[in-house]
């Protein structure tokens, strides 16, 4: 069995990976925010992926997609829309790399996109099973585990995933509203362009 870990380089996703690595082989995917961020964020994600036992690191250029979403869609739904796109792209990668599950570091209520309502609508972007081993963890528990497994220090390094995000993201959404926002962009075109430029390496 193989899982595809969506790794941002923050605190949570490496811990989620470490937990699931006990149950299955892991590959990892990182969505790069270049040109808005520098290489440090990518290098950090790769180091974390290796530290938690991922066998492969897949890099998806995502900066242009983030830019497009910011320009064309209601900015309050930015995090929901980006996470949905990440799951859609990850589903295609999972098929390509024979992964059975998607894994994320989401936990309930920490940020605007991680309310129950939003997580439900985000998950509807994929038909695959999405494993969220940190769903009921609070931040202190995650930090303690990160310190225990040795990813805490590295996770506190460079990360710019919220650079384009809104100050007041939507904490509730409906699938109808999301459909309207997604109709404003060329979803398939953007995903195809990103998938054509992926890079991968064995860890």
């Amino acid at each position: 069995m193989r899982g595809l870990l969506l790794i941002s380089g923050g605190l949570d996703s490496p811990v989620a990976g470490w937990i699931m690595a006990k149950q299955m082989e892991l590959y990892s995917v990182h969505f790069s925010g270049e040109p808005f961020v520098n290489k440090e964020a990518e290098n950090k994600a790769k180091s974390l992926a290796k530290a938690v036992g991922c066998k492969k690191f897949i890099l998806v250029p995502f900066g242009q997609i983030q830019e497009e979403l910011t320009k064309k869609c209601n900015h309050r739904y930015y995090y929901i829309l980006t996470k949905r796109l990440m799951l859609m792209i990850s589903e295609k990668l999972a098929k390509k790399y024979n992964c059975d599950y998607l894994i994320t570091g989401d936990s309930l209520g920490q940020v605007g996109s991680q309310t129950l309502s939003n997580l439900t609508n985000i998950t509807m972007a994929t038909k695959m099973e999405v494993l969220r081993p940190l769903l009921s963890y609070d931040k202190i528990e995650t930090i303690e585990l990160a310190k225990k497994i040795g990813t805490y220090e590295l996770s506190t390094g460079p990360e710019m995933c919220s650079l384009l995000g809104p100050k007041h993201p939507a904490t509730k959404s409906s699938i109808e509203l999301i459909d309207i926002e997604e109709s404003k962009i060329d979803l398939n075109g953007m995903m195809g362009a990103a998938l054509n430029k992926i890079e991968d390496e064995d860890l």
Partner: protein, 88 residues
Amino acid sequence: MEEFTFEKCKTKGAYSAKLKHNKKLELKNLKGKFEIVSETPVLYLIKADGYNIVVHAYGEILFKEGTNVDEMKELSAKIYSILLKKVY
């Protein structure tokens, strides 16, 4: 000259300028003054004096790379002077 702080940002791995008092930045005033790499409603990515710079509408300026603090501070002051618009 507008007052701002300038320091290395731990979470972002870059040098960052932040205004001491919240002001609205008119990002479109950057056009014609700097090379615009990317523009969105919330931030612009520009090139200036060899630096790649993220200018956020809420007032933060981030230098993606760079070690010459004096140079970056001077550039930040220049950017702020071009962009600042008082909001009443």
